[in-house]
Point group: C2
Amino acid sequence: MDTVCVDAMGGDLGSQVVLDGIELALKADKDLQVLIAGNGEVVEPFCEAHERALSLVTTEVIAMDEHPVKAVRSKRDSSITRGCMAVRDGEAQAFFSAGSTGACLAAATLFIGRDKGVLRPALSAVLPGLDGHQTCVCDLGANADCRPEMLVQFAQMASVLAQVEAGCGPKPSVGLLSNGSEKTKGSEQALAFHEALEAAGEEGLINFAGNCEGNDILMGSFDVIVCDGFTGNVALKAMEGTAKYIAASLKAEAKMSPVAALGALMIKPAFSSIAAGLSGDEHGGACLLGVKAPVLVGHGHTSPEAIKNGALAAVRVIREDLVGKIAAQLSSQDK
Amino acid sequence: MDTVCVDAMGGDLGSQVVLDGIELALKADKDLQVLIAGNGEVVEPFCEAHERALSLVTTEVIAMDEHPVKAVRSKRDSSITRGCMAVRDGEAQAFFSAGSTGACLAAATLFIGRDKGVLRPALSAVLPGLDGHQTCVCDLGANADCRPEMLVQFAQMASVLAQVEAGCGPKPSVGLLSNGSEKTKGSEQALAFHEALEAAGEEGLINFAGNCEGNDILMGSFDVIVCDGFTGNVALKAMEGTAKYIAASLKAEAKMSPVAALGALMIKPAFSSIAAGLSGDEHGGACLLGVKAPVLVGHGHTSPEAIKNGALAAVRVIREDLVGKIAAQLSSQDK
């Protein structure tokens, strides 16, 4: 039995969505046990009514707009802090929340701790690409400022994630997100990243394939794309915004033309599934790489399906020993 | 009569597309004259057959993948260098090309020159937003590395563009692209940008409205969004890539389901118009702000319609005196 701790208080849409998602996950995986962190009146009735559901009663909630580090330090009995403490204490092997990404990062770093040798944990998600190819992008926002050696670790860690979660072969190709594909393109910082990644490629630590551009992210041309968390966050949100804009524009066009309206209705299921893929929720959200146990963070604007995917992704990376494989990959560097 | 110089050799799809676009522009605007820069066999037959079309015969072409500055310095008889020289010499009042953006920037800066007081010219485009609201984003890639005072100028220049081209009122709201909407969010560089923009707002130079995120770009929440050219380029290309990915995925879904196929067919015109808006081509591509005459750069993968829009946007900004208004705006700072 593998135990995942799930934050019942995370997400913008209320706890019922999370509980519905947990129910789906428990049905889908008979070897999954869920430790549910949240207010007593939320988690206790659910745990009494469901097998393999254990309650972790907490009294505080960290809101999406709170300062992450301050909130984690002051709200010691929140679902996020207690969830990470439960993982530290071995009561669960992974943590999943659709709550504040910043608070999850802070709590995971503070209570679960970094893997040996990790400079900074980083967020990565498996994004879809053309022809079913998938790409792990890292960092998506954990570190706004990065040093070149951090990018090399992001590449190493995301290369492991690409093999475990995106079905990549043994040497995932790594691209550096820049403003041009040529080696000479980039800000001064990106040029320094390029140099470090190239050197790491020559040492055999990663399979560095050069610079890539924003439009390569969803083209499936690279197995891994690395960048600082500032750039990764802007790019990810720009992509989400584009999908939202296209959906809203199609809706507006449909209002003006009956043909477009009917067409929009007919492609709606296809469009929804494409948009769900883009949000990263099909893969359980973003995975925090470089901490001693799997921590996954889903979208705040979540759904039962996304919660299910998050819980199942968490148990998958437990079973695949993502954390152990990342530690092995990083320690190979020290030799 | 207003004269726009158009590069006949720019774009990936050959000169005929450009000539077709020029023909459309000449038909749409009877006070437009076009000076067409390109190889003799391309431009001369067209100019003989069309009124208000003058030829500027050149013998060299700068390819999309050439090093911009080197190419501009060595190919003195290319359509891009000669086009910018023609603007410098008063033979045309604006230049439009669907060729190498970098070469256009280099040639414009070298031959046309910067406006007085401009630290660095920057690329801006009018992007669509929800409910018909439009946003000018600057810089889209001219300057990979920026100092805070450059961002203030980008905001001032793009605020003028927003009034001239995007129908904004007298005090366009300016957002800073960051990885969070709170003031405290951002890389060290973004925090320095924020400080400078906030100070400029307090001085009344711009209407600074705070940080925004990647998903705000197409939401129409800000009239102007500024960022360094590295971040702007990554965001723009990520948005283009998303539109391309969604189109390709819908096509793939349509192959698997007859309902989706019919739906896709019915929304195709709506989708194409949304995608065209996103590419910036509906507004004639990107405008180089801060040089002494309007220089506009369209997509390499262009169409006659996009070339027409580029030529018409160029003549519009000539008539609106975009350059004079930007100079006035910047000089108000010196007082």
